[in-house]
């Protein structure tokens, strides 16, 4: 039999995204493995076992191998990997933290990622995000779990200028958020005649 094909919940939106100008670029992030890590205390032991220093500052993310380590809570992180299969990542992380009283859960399909790039990204996000996204406060390495429109999201700042942001959203809300973003971007995408 043929290999199982993957389908992305936003396949139907890709054309609309492609038509967007550079000032409000939206691209669908490729599928990556993601694991939700829970761990009470972070010590050298944990770092060694995981191969990454999990960020302890609230609202931050750090690069971790080929992926990222995102602070989600005082004992919770999202670890991503672009090279491991979801089950591999989960198994590796679970093995590393189980002995420390931690847990690891594969959440690779729980959220999908959208990358927003361009000078108008902030103008789009502020239409539905109540936290301060000024580059002074939300610069590369910042993250936030918050609400965008009516969808729970994780925002990751990839640049210091506020023009490169990854939005992680629950897969079942992806269509809603895509519609929401396109609608929010409308005033920056329609030329004034």
């Amino acid at each position: 039999m043929a290999e199982l094909l993957r389908t992305h919940p936003l396949t139907a939106w890709t054309d609309a995204f492609e038509r967007l100008p550079d000032t409000v670029g939206i691209t669908v992030e490729p599928f990556v493995a993601m694991v939700d890590v829970r761990l009470g205390t972070i010590g050298p032991e944990a770092s060694a076992a995981l191969g990454v220093d999990l960020p302890t500052a609230p609202g931050t993310w750090v690069p971790a191998g080929t992926g990222r380590a995102v602070w989600l809570g005082p004992d919770e992180w999202l670890l991503t990997s672009t090279t491991e299969a979801p089950e591999e990542l989960e198994a590796r992380v679970r093995a590393a933290v189980a002995g420390l009283g931690g847990s690891a859960t594969d959440v690779s399909a729980q959220r999908i990622g959208l990358r927003l790039t361009g000078a108008r990204v902030r103008d789009v996000l502020v239409k539905g995000c109540s936290i301060d996204l000024h580059p002074r406060v939300f610069s590369r390495g910042s993250s936030a779990q918050t609400t965008l429109g009516q969808a729970g999201v994780v925002l990751l700042a990839l640049s210091d200028a506020g023009d490169d942001v990854v939005v992680l959203v629950r897969a079942s809300f992806a269509g809603y958020l895509a519609d929401w973003l396109l609608d929010a971007a409308l005033e920056f995408t329609t030329p004034i005649s």
Binding site: P74, E76, Q145
Partner: protein, 92 residues
């Protein structure tokens, strides 16, 4: 329209939080040994003061952690927030 200081995430809009009512109401050690009346008080009865109130909040749309707060129910103002393992602040 309070700006609530999550002990971890910092100030966030009220809409990101859910309310948990009165704080420091522990689950009884041995419910089976309580009278119906004592049990009813645990299940249904909570303080409802006008003024300072120690209560529970959850940063539902953020880090999902529960925490406690002292808030004035007449002004809605938060006087302090504290983690669950912190003692209740002493009332001045």
């Amino acid at each position: 329209m309070q700006l609530i200081a999550c002990p971890w995430c910092g100030p966030r809009e009220e809409v990101e939080f859910s309310y948990g009512g009165q704080a420091h109401v522990p689950y009884p050690d041995s419910p089976a040994e309580l009278s119906d009346e004592e049990w009813a008080h645990y299940v249904f009865f909570r303080d409802n003061p006008r003024g300072r109130f120690a209560e529970r909040w959850n940063h539902n749309a953020g880090c999902r952690r529960w925490f406690n707060a002292i808030r004035d129910t007449s002004t809605y103002r938060f006087e302090s927030v504290y983690r669950l393992d912190d003692p209740k602040p002493v009332t001045p």
